[in-house]
Amino acid sequence: MATMIQDEIERVRNSEIWRTIFRSGSGSSNLHRSQAVQQNVFLHLFSAKIRSRAMEFSPTWFLGALTLSTFFILVATGILLMFYYHPSVPQAYTDMKDLQFVVASGVFLRNLHRWSAHAMVFLVFAHMFKVFYRGAYRPPRQFNWVIGVFLLLITLLLSYTGYLLPWDQLAFWAVTVGSNIAKAVPVMGQKIRFLMLGGNEVNANALLRFYVLHCVILPLAAVALIGVHFWRIRKDGGLYVPEEKQP
């Protein structure tokens, strides 16, 4: 039975249609397997060959992969939430309540988005601590650490801009306080706050600006930097795996 399934998979993998899509075809030689990675648009960012130690739990605790997973959950649930949410002052709060009480599975998606957001912030910090205490930021990986710091900033900005969107008291005052912190920047603080809010008070313009930042600009920036971050892992010689101590 098992061999029958195996043979059927082999047959499909060697068919013309499969090979027009995946090119490398079947085969388990090192060449075939490395081609399967190199010739896939998504996988070619990664190394074709890594040390098996790098796939174990202890060098990374999988924190980077978990962070990426929460990001994917956030993109998927966020897009679904956008189908019901209007970024306007009269509607934002009631749309959020409708998602909780009226829309089928709305409360599940909203809570999944919220908890994943909290988890992502936590995991980004955990990932950074892990990288730091492992010493994985050291040359030749120092530039990837810098990209990581920018990704941290984008994560925090996503978290902050998303905080306003429910348009409840918590959101309103958090953004009032946050925009006043921006105002404390010397010389241009007032201007920064004005540009951030699109006015002098947290109002319709601020809601729309935060919505566009949250749903378009910051996710695109995150995707671009995540791409570079992953590509740099290969370019910098793979995941950092400390030499095992001799017993």
Partner: protein, 167 residues
């Protein structure tokens, strides 16, 4: 141009482009126009993202008739973010937005203080800070009596001196 002059000009970059080649000239022209376009884009973006028309509330508001405010009381108008105080010397108004990070404060009659819920700043009824992180006192706002007999408050211009309105 002699040969020596040619080698000199190619070795040292010619800042003024007095006798640079056509290629160098166009390269400089290209870089220059990119700089101009970049600066223009920056300026254009700044202008675009600064709204010229705002749909925000007027800074001048009508607080109410004087008899709505009993003597020696502090009344918060949360919609407009002001306190109207009917004190012994007359009426005066304070901004109700905390000078620390912009939260709306609340009047606590049992403490005889104005308290901010966000970070614990406290002010007395003259707006002077008595506790907490607020860097400034609450601003005193101009109050006057309109012809229709309403107390009016201008939220845009804090007063330097204390002013009271007697009714």
């Amino acid at each position: 141009m002699s040969d020596e002059a040619k080698t000199a000009s190619s070795a040292v970059p010619d800042e003024d482009c007095k006798d640079c080649t056509r290629r160098e000239f166009f390269a400089k022209l290209g870089i220059g126009s990119l700089i101009v376009a970049g600066a223009g884009t920056g300026l254009f973006s700044y202008e675009y993202f600064s709204p010229n028309v705002l749909f925000e509330a007027s800074p001048i508001i009508r607080a109410g008739k004087p008899d709505q405010f009993p003597a020696n009381t502090v009344t918060l108008d949360p919609q407009n973010g002001i306190y109207l105080v009917n004190g012994p010397k007359g009426f005066y108004a304070l901004g109700a937005v905390c000078t620390h990070l912009g939260c709306l404060t609340a009047w606590k009659p049992e403490l005889d203080l104005i308290a901010c819920p966000c970070h614990g700043s406290r002010f007395n009824k003259d707006g002077v800070k008595v506790a907490g992180p607020a860097p400034q006192p609450l601003p005193r706002l101009k109050v006057w009596l309109s012809e229709e007999g309403y107390l009016m408050v201008d939220r845009s211009s804090p007063l330097k001196e204390q002013e009271f309105v007697k009714v």
